[in-house]
């Protein structure tokens, strides 16, 4: 593969508005959940990780006034504001103009502006923004991207698939810089759906733990800038990726984990790595009984059961279309800081394969990392990051 460098990033979750803020909270072992009983969001009280509304607005207004003083705040939805703040921060870090004809914006989201279906949102000036491509156009135009954005919407692997697609586009020589931004909000729509599946944990989720009892939802946005030219001081690359499908069930994972293992094997092969050269695996780890069990089997098949593994979802929940991007950025920070993060919510192993789940933050050389994800529709994704 042609080198695809990581050039900049940003995370927005309940734990902060920059990668630095969020990682600082991670290091302190704080999680971002609060129990909400706001009946406009959820009929049953559940822990949720929500982005601070007033702070998001304040950050957005600052950017709006400096970039587009002619535009009105009311023209943007809350999700669009979050995307714009996140992209603005990530691009600022690279210190270059990334919007020309050799650049592209890739947006990952599952539900986009789904809030516009709600009764209270009927007076939004442009109801057409329920279309994901239209939302992406608004974000792309805000920054002045010459090329029209690409929108990936592939359930819970959307973020990893967006990164994979972007890395392949650079590898193919079609673009030099790609801004990959993943984001989703929590709405009554999403929360009621997961409740109807009886998939939500009454306490903050406990990935891979024996007492895990379902997932916790979070909202957030993550942006990664990848480039064939610009790199950070710690040189990291995206060096392999692969997607597979279970061909088994639309809402339940594979019984064997073979298909996720196949994605992992293909991604490692492309990166030119053997399993024992992997320093860390950032798992999907939703904390539903079946997902974590399947992942443990897949990691065993891929000969990765002894490699340190965590799930970041115990900190800020399952952020849906943002998850793959945000968790990749946290992985990238592990590589930059040579620091592996404890898997929050984990106490006693509760999956059939004895995985090496990280119990305490540990300083150790972190060289090559794997991020994996699986989702509804039977999809699996794996992506490999390498330190050069």
């Amino acid at each position: 593969m042609r080198p695809v460098y990581i050039a900049g990033d940003n995370i927005i979750t309940s734990m902060g508005f920059t990668t630095r803020e969020v990682i600082h909270q991670l290091e302190s072992g704080i999680n971002g959940f609060q129990k909400y009983d706001d009946c406009s969001l959820t009929p049953t009280p559940v822990p949720l990780s929500l982005v601070h509304r007033d702070l998001l607005n304040a950050k957005f207004l600052e950017i709006l006034v400096s970039c587009h003083p002619e535009m009105q705040e009311e023209y943007f939805t809350r999700l669009e504001k979050m995307f714009i703040v996140s992209i603005h921060e990530a691009v600022k870090e690279t210190g270059t103009n990334l919007f020309g004809s050799n650049s592209l914006l890739v947006i990952s989201t599952t539900k986009g502006n789904i809030e516009l279906l709600e009764e209270g949102k009927k007076d939004f000036p442009d109801p057409g923004r329920i279309y994901l491509w239209k939302m992406a156009d608004v974000i792309g135009t805000f920054f002045g991207f010459v090329n029209r954005p690409v929108v990936v919407s592939n359930a819970c692997i959307s973020g990893v698939l967006a990164l994979s697609t972007a890395a392949r586009l650079i590898d193919a020589g079609l673009y030099n810089h790609i801004v990959v931004a993943g984001g989703d909000l929590l709405s009554e729509f999403v929360i009621s759906g997961f409740l109807s599946f009886q998939a939500l944990s009454p306490e903050p989720c406990k990935p891979f733990d024996i007492n895990r009892n379902g997932l916790s939802l979070g909202e957030g946005c993550g942006t990664v800038v990848i480039s064939s030219e610009f790199k950070k001081s710690t040189v990291l690359t995206v060096s392999g990726s692969a997607i597979t499908n279970d061909a088994n069930h639309i809402s339940g994972p594979s019984l064997t984990g073979e298909e996720l293992a196949m994605a992992i094997g293909n991604a490692l092969k492309e990166a030119g790595l053997k399993p024992d050269e992997v320093s860390f695996v950032s798992a999907h780890g939703t904390a539903t009984p079946y997902n974590d069990e399947m992942e443990s089997k897949a990691l065993e098949i891929a000969c990765l059961q002894d490699i340190p593994v965590n799930s970041f979802k115990g900190y800020w929940g399952h952020t849906l279309g943002a998850a793959g991007v945000i968790e990749s950025i946290a992985t990238i920070r592990s590589m930059e800081n040579n620091l592996l993060f404890r898997s929050a919510g984990f106490n006693e192993l509760g999956v059939p394969v004895p995985l090496n789940v990280i119990r305490e933050n540990v300083h150790t050389p972190v060289q090559n990392c794997l991020k994996i994800a699986s989702g509804f529709g039977g999809c699996n994704a794996a992506i490999v990051f390498r330190k050069m």
């Binding site: 009929p43 599952t110 539900k111 986009g112 789904i114 279906l117 709600e118 009764e119 329920i130 279309y131 994901l132 491509w133 239209k134 992406a136 156009d137 690409v150 929108v151 990936v152 919407s153 592939n154 359930a155 698939l161 697609t165 392949r168 586009l169 590898d171 193919a172 079609l174 009554e188 729509f189 009621s192 759906g193 997961f194 409740l195 109807s196 599946f197 692969a242 997607i243 597979t244 499908n245 279970d246 061909a247 088994n248 069930h249 639309i250 809402s251 298909e259 196949m262 293909n266 989702g375 509804f376 529709g377 039977g378 999809c379």
Partner: protein
Amino acid sequence: MNETCFITQSNIIRKHALIRNEKVELNNEIFVNFATFIKALYKKEAISYPKFYKMDNLSKLGFLGAEMLLKDNAFLDRYRKEEIGIVIMNSSSSLDTDMAYNETIKDKSNYFPSPSVFVYTLPNILIGEICIRHKIKGENAFLVTDQFDPGKVIESVKLLLDKDHAQACLCGWVEVLGDKFESVLFLIEKEKTVKEFNPARKYSPFTIESLTQFYQNK
């Protein structure tokens, strides 16, 4: 973008016509709505797959398009199931089912969210349904664009074929919103495979011109 590829099968499903491998079959029946249309097409194609009735409209349409591409065709025998990629795009994602699901939660006195509806509020479930039916395990991608975009279809599929992430692809456009719908699907294979199984036959090259011309078939 090095591999030369060909369109080895294609079809379009529209309200007034089915177009298979560029042959047009007109629909003379009057269909009241999407539901009656898709049921009639399912019967006409003589498919027996009980899960079809559980699918949402987007999955039903794309599923039938894929059936029409893959039946009476040795495509599936030519590849291992993990070598086949699926790339599908549309404009409204799963909005058709999103609106149906929203109806089940908007009235607190008549609140009945159902997991069997909610799961279809993701467009890639259609890809999952096609994979389950044919045991296809390769690369997947669902992308959203404002209209059928031949350039994007080619770009996304070539990313898979040129680097051997897939050896062949099922790809195209499946859009449903209310009673407006359209499915445009293709099988794309590499020149070296095509030469092996049918060296004499001329297939359309996988180019923007071919896709545009085929799409404009009325």
